[in-house]
Subunit: 586 residues, 2 copies
């Protein structure tokens, strides 16, 4: 597997000396040509050949797309955009608060700041269902301007939706007005600079509108990395990660974002809140974990101090086929619990995802075809691996040469003891090369008449197997009830010593006119199974609007009412991101 044009920048290699940030400019490098109807920018990163291979696989599993399903991405001029509810004089007063005048009521700008990137968001855009649009978009250029905008919003009865990269897949940036008159979307695009690096203390400060790649472009030439690489890395921001309690793909080594953040400045309607937790401390309750994960409902992250790490000198991939899912889970647990050389990345696909990964590749690049055509029958037979049950695992080890050697040695030892077959570096390196590209594929499949959804949970190792069974059963039952076929695949990733994340990919043929119903049936079934069986409501995407109906059940009312008491203090008029995270008022 290789990535198609344009090649994503390889942030784990030195990108060469990064220019010193120009202080006071603060405009982050905008991704070129935003694909407002889909993921990212520019062309798809999937070749036609590659997409065709995957379509062949899906057609075999699900049948072909239904008549009238799919179609090309929409055109902007086909959309009818509702007018802003802000008056011209109000808009003028708002713009006067911004030193650079960066506010807009223009339709396209409002459209670009009204939709996240959930599959339903994209489908609604494709179907020209623009029911809600933010009324005004502002790009404050300083902390003081953020404060002024919040004060303006309080005075003018506007809801404020903070906007980082806009990649929420849970409705976290939906322009909900709540009980307010209109919606203002507050973009952090002009608060997007690296601020300082304290190499002695391994702490780096950033403005929170900064994109992932800009963070690494600042740190890596200086010898450091943040180590936070969620799939949305290229188009999501530090503030978004903090707000949603994000976990990156290398979290087994670097931890999740809440474990990385050591200080922050947040603008709340009550004032500027500053906290510092450079070290452990015993100075009373720690509110930092309340703001991390508050998804813009308590305050807006404007600056953060992050723990950084020296870039590891060595990195190596290995991969294996395990005989079945339960062997694969045990293998993953064993590896994650090896205290001295745990992997930085560990991903174990179930049988279905393994099949998609091996089959859904163009012949010239494919591991699958290699298996089928030459190498595999012999080896699989030797290992008594059943292609209908086997599971693919990839792992990355980082550190000194000797610790990487030791990690790979343990990987191979573990796979042997679980009856696995070593595949070498290839599959892991292939995954790494397209780790940020997968969402482009979703756009291709949407055009082709398939609906793709992903969702994730996490649990302790003890509960993982049963939880996974329940979620898959619930999804298959929901599809069966809805009378459509479903491809349900899962992998385990973001492993910890105590448990792991579980990530699901669903593909179903779109039933024209019933797509939303399909989505709701699947989402409800999966989420109810997750909550009922003790999985976390979300491992790394947040609550947003979509998970809100389950938050009371998942967290308990005594917790969510505690959130509410903080909300009432920090945001007394309730202007911040209404309709998200917190259960509907009782």
């Amino acid at each position: 597997v290789v990535s198609e044009s344009p090649t994503p920048p390889n942030f784990t290699r030195a990108p060469g000396p990064a220019p010193e940030p120009e202080k006071g400019q603060g405009r982050r490098e905008a991704p070129s040509l935003p694909r407002w109807w889909g993921w990212g920018s520019g062309e798809s990163r999937y070749s036609r050949e590659r997409v065709q291979k995957i379509l062949d696989f899906l057609r075999f599993r699900l049948g072909g797309p239904r008549e009238g399903a799919g179609g090309p991405p929409p055109e902007l001029h086909d959309l009818s955009l509702p007018p802003s509810r802000l008056s011209r004089p109000e808009f003028q007063r708002l713009r006067d608060l911004l030193s650079l005048g960066t506010a807009s009521m223009e339709g396209e700008e409002r459209l670009l700041h009204s939709f996240g990137k959930s599959s339903m968001d994209l489908l609604r855009l494709r179907h020209a269902q623009i029911s809600k649009l933010t009324d005004v978009v502002v790009h404050p250029a300083s902390v003081e301007e953020v404060q002024a905008v919040l004060a303006f919003a309080e005075d003018h009865d506007l809801a404020v939706v903070p906007w980082g990269g806009g990649t929420s897949v849970v409705g976290g940036v939906d322009p909900e007005e709540g009980s307010h008159r209109a919606v203002l979307t507050l973009s952090l695009a002009r608060l997007a600079e690296p601020l300082s690096l304290d190499a002695t203390s391994r702490l780096a400060r950033f403005q929170c509108g900064i994109y992932g790649p800009e963070i690494e472009r600042y740190l890596q030439p200086r010898g450091f990395t943040l180590g936070h690489f969620p799939q949305s890395f290229e188009y999501s921001t530090l503030g978004g990660w903090l707000s949603t309690r994000s976990s990156g793909q290398e979290s087994s080594r670097y931890g999740d974002i809440s474990q990385m953040v050591r200080g922050a400045k947040l603008v709340t309607p009550r004032g500027l809140l500053v906290w510092d937790r450079s070290t452990s401390e015993a100075a009373g309750p720690d509110l930092s974990e309340v703001f991390v994960g508050s998804e813009g409902t308590l305050g807006i992250f404007v600056e953060a101090t992050m723990r950084v790490h020296p870039r590891p000198p060595e990195s190596r991939w290995d991969a294996a086929l395990l005989p079945d899912w339960y062997a694969a889970l045990e293998f993953a647990r064993e590896l994650s619990q090896s205290d001295e050389t745990p992997p930085s990345v560990l991903r174990v696909s179930d049988t279905e995802e393994t099949a998609l990964t091996l089959e859904g590749r163009a012949p010239s690049e494919t591991l699958g075809s290699r298996f089928r055509d030459r190498l595999a029958p012999h080896l699989l037979d030797l290992k008594k691996l059943d292609p209908e049950a086997m599971c693919l695992a990839i792992a990355n080890f980082q550190g000194t040469a000797s610790s990487v050697d030791e990690g790979v040695r343990r990987f191979r030892q573990a796979l042997r003891s679980h009856g696995g077959l070593d595949l070498g570096r290839g599959p892991g390196e292939a995954w790494k090369n397209e780790r940020f590209a997968l969402p482009y594929l979703r756009d291709e499949l949407l055009s082709e008449g398939y609906f793709v959804e992903t969702l994730e949970t996490a649990s302790s190792w003890s509960d993982l197997g049963p939880l996974d069974q329940e979620v898959k059963t619930a999804l298959r039952d929901a599809a069966h009830r809805g009378k459509f076929p479903a491809f349900v695949a899962a992998h385990l990733s973001h492993t910890e010593t105590t448990g792991s994340g579980l990530y699901y990919t669903l593909v179903v043929p779109q039933l024209p006119g019933r797509e939303e119903e399909q989505w709701e049936a699947l989402k409800r079934a999966a989420t109810e199974a997750i909550v009922h069986h003790g999985g976390t409501l979300s491992h790394h995407h947040g609550v947003g609007r979509l998970h809100r109906p389950w938050v009371d059940q998942a967290r308990g009312q005594l917790t969510t009412r505690g959130w509410r008491s903080l909300k009432e203090f920090y945001d007394p008029k309730g202007i911040l991101n209404p309709g998200k995270v917190h259960p509907a008022s009782r």
Copy 2:
């Protein structure tokens, strides 16, 4: 250095198979003969010879004790204990709530549950200053009984002070009634069982009244350790650690208590709050870090699920003399930031603490005398080490044999690059053998007319040196203004990649009748310096009553008012531990 009788149990060796806990009994093993006027139980762990050696050192530094200072520990019958403010019928009703009838208004029981273990607590007891005593002590035997007691307290206008081990050094268990009629002390002594171990997920559940040794006696025969060893380990409890955000001496390897806890049950006046964070999650704000560190003001920890670790197969100590404090700080930072084999314990003494450690030992055991008499002059000269400037460092490495080897190799490499002298295993092993005994020495010195106080802070590596200078200067200035000599020593410990704790030991001669004034001058000077220069108000002892005057300045009013909003929700009548943590009401 060896520990005197009775030898503390060696919890890092297998204590042999632990009996299965008897379910439903729940009475923890009570420490024998509590020294209510001092630390711990039983006889002092310091021999007369050893104490004499330290007294010689202090006499040389501070002059002899003042006339009339010190004296033997007090006798219980010398104390005049105020009567309880609870009526007999009230007491009867309260006792009827407890299945085992474990409530007491008896004077001695109330005395034993009214004082923490700060130096001022002990001095007040020695001076028979019993100004405040709790009115009733209860020992509920179930979660439901804790709930019933809180409801009773709300109905009868009683303040509730949760009581774990009672070892607070910041006034955290003082029987403050706040705006209430009287004080009820709620002991967790009958909620002190290990509950379960999930070896697969490395999670263990305990009732929160359990003492440190009982935790390890449960885990170690099963192959695990919690890894939490604060100096108070033998007499403090899991609930106390969680409430105060405790850090153990091996926190460089195992993290602080907030990093260990993965789930809890707390009884709040609003109801039973349950949280689970077995893994990372993105399901909204995380209140767990609000309860951890809330010191009994928001709820009472009754159960907790803790991340545990396999017991490391190997453990090795090494020690070094570094040429001066700044070399020692750099050495410590380098070691703490070695990503692959960081120490589990790293303690670096400044010149003064090094002198006390080397000199204050009995001749037959002493490293100091070895240095003076035989080995040292030659070696010190060879290394150009100045006895007036040199600093002692000890470190422990845990893990597999090869990783321990690598840790020690790096320790020696680092000490060479900083001009240090390797001292081998002895000093570290000696420290380990008396790691929990030091508080007994404080009692000896109080009897001898010296006042001993300890306090601690933490900061990032960049700020550590300047902060330390400011704190020492402030302490010496305060002593100078008070016209008494002061011995001020420090060590660095609880290191992290981003920073470290700094721990101060002060010894001054007691000025009879002015002891409280001495204490206040020193405490105020140090705390103001800490807060002014950005150190944390407390690294591992909490806020309690003593640090409360600075909490607004240290944390910011926008944070402490957020705490208040949670307090008002979870404890609407304000019965839980009044006068602690939260700033006085505005």
